[in-house]
Symmetry: C2
Subunit: 112 residues, 2 copies
Amino acid sequence: MSPLFKYYRTMATYELEHPEIADVTLTDVLFALSDPARLEIVREVAAGPLDMAACGATNPDLPKSTKSHLMKVLREAGIVRNVPNGRGRLVSLRKDELDARFPGLLDSVLGA
Amino acid sequence: MSPLFKYYRTMATYELEHPEIADVTLTDVLFALSDPARLEIVREVAAGPLDMAACGATNPDLPKSTKSHLMKVLREAGIVRNVPNGRGRLVSLRKDELDARFPGLLDSVLGA
DNA sequence: GTGAAGGTTCCAATCTTTTCGAACCAACCG
DNA sequence: CGGTTGGTTCGAAAAGATTGGAACCTTCAC
């Protein structure tokens, strides 16, 4: 086992875990969307997949650990997908899946 | 001034404050709905106005101070209206107002 | 190589929510 | 009047969320 093992799961290039859409709960989704900073990220990503480095344009000097945490909450709630992409990560909205699971929810939140 | 003054604003028969619908924020609404116990109350009330004593049927032995607090969060978020009614209080969903302010939101949450 | 950019985890401090007993009052019933 | 029911506030304890620095790793550019 490599001496780097400890970091295998933390490297930006490795896969992070995403919940199955069937396991996503309504209350977790609502909670994740109930924070202004997280909701803002969702709005940005709703326009199309975005490099993580690029999103958060409205919050330019958000510390990276904070941004990483906000993203984790969105990912664990099942709202975004976050995949390795070169040196960084690409974030996308799980729109089709969410629309199937909670019809109309995302549109009404984003439309508000 | 009456010695009872201290309690004028807390008596079950007096009016509680409700936010104007225009002042209700999306994130406060989402947050209030993100708790399972609160969401359950909203589902019960969605069928029609309910005596506070009657709602919470699913949580029969919830302490009253806890129930009062859950209700307060819902009221302050602008989701329910809570008016004096005889010895108790009547709770109702602010459905029309919420539908106008956040079209489709309530239906998608309740439909989920 | 070396260096910078991008991103994660760990940890600790702080702040916010949650929970529930206690004290209290009004309304109703006998 | 005296007891019960319904419901609020206050206060304190416990649990959870947020924030940001530090340490660390990779990939890319030079």
